[in-house]
Symmetry: C2
Subunit: 210 residues, 2 copies
């Protein structure tokens, strides 16, 4: 099916949201944990985490400032500068999806959605105990994206927890063994099945096309 | 396994690249097609495409300005303002990976890696014929991310091609039927297996935790 910009503009809002949220391809399923100055915790599902750099290790994610749910997440990050990113595993998808409901600020999605807060030394913001691959980050920068009216929130990794069984000697993480999930659109969840791994690509090694 | 910022800093460069490029979770596998003023085409694998907005429909991707391969992509985008994003399907992963080799600017990865240029009316930049889900975009904005020394390149979707069989009435795209792949780290490829789809989450429908 072919759709022009004009076809997309004329669609119903819900259909357009579903399609355009899917066309980037699979998105990583993560939960962002935060805490405010009054120790009120918050947990939000985010499918826009993106790698920005390895040394120092930077990740970013996208927020819409007008979105009620994620606004609490960003307010908390501005208050104490810390957040956690926790991979969603396949047994957690329904609970994780439920964090996207519009809970009031004085309600913690940890409790409401059946997740357990987990803390490590010298880091005041909660991790998700049920998650297997998780990170604690410090907020470094927020960048405004004018065209789309969105914000990229950038953090530097201070703490990284990876399941031993998913990590190879060379540092490859097997997302199938880690049981991390992908997301399509706003509400579909995918398990990951490894189908190939290739060496660093070099010009001099010609590949035969299929 | 627990790794602190200091542990990560002290790792070998290659191990750090492998780990930190994996911790964001699964990444969408896409090929970016471009063309310069002399009709020289270019094709680059990019795993950082991210959804930014649905109305108008915006996508972004991350570039490192110092990276030789993707530099040609960005130079071409600056020359004529257009690029295509083409989902990688499972039978294309080896060829797609090979586009990351450092080809000279006068070499087209389309030809070298066994892909076919495909054109539609009123859009001068090539799509990947072998890809099933693809978009033609116009460059809207580039945003500098200071902390990580990277650039986010933002485009607006002008043309969208989706396989009929993968698109539902409500606009959901099934990435398993579209055969779109995910990427972990720098060189691992994953097929997607749908495990759940949930309605829009509401506060008043309490979910039972697992």
């Amino acid at each position: 099916m072919y759709l022009s910009a004009s076809n997309i503009k004329k669609m119903s809002r819900v259909k357009r949201l579903n399609i355009i949220n899917s066309v980037s391809g699979v998105k990583p399923g993560n939960l962002i944990g935060t805490k405010d100055q009054n120790s009120q915790t918050n947990l939000a599902i985010i499918s826009s985490v993106v790698h920005l750099g390895s040394n120092p290790p930077y990740l970013g994610f996208i927020l819409r400032p007008d979105q009620n749910v994620r606004r609490h997440t960003y307010e908390n990050i501005l208050e104490n500068g810390l957040f956690t990113i926790n991979h969603i595993t396949s047994n957690l998808i329904e609970q994780a999806h439920y964090t996207s409901a519009k809970f009031e600020k004085n309600i913690s999605e940890f409790k409401k959605c059946g997740f357990t807060e987990e803390y490590i030394e010298d880091f005041s913001t909660p991790f998700v105990k049920e998650s297997k691959l998780k990170m604690g980050l410090i907020h470094e920068e927020s960048v405004t994206i004018k065209s789309s009216g969105t914000l990229m929130v950038i953090g530097r990794i201070l703490h990284l927890i990876v399941p031993d069984t998913a990590l190879s000697e060379e540092g490859h993480i097997d997302l199938n063994i880690a049981d991390s999930v992908g997301i399509s659109g706003l509400n579909s969840y995918y398990a990951l099945d490894k189908i190939g791994q290739f060496p660093f690509a070099r010009v001099d090694i010609e590949k035969k096309p299929n």
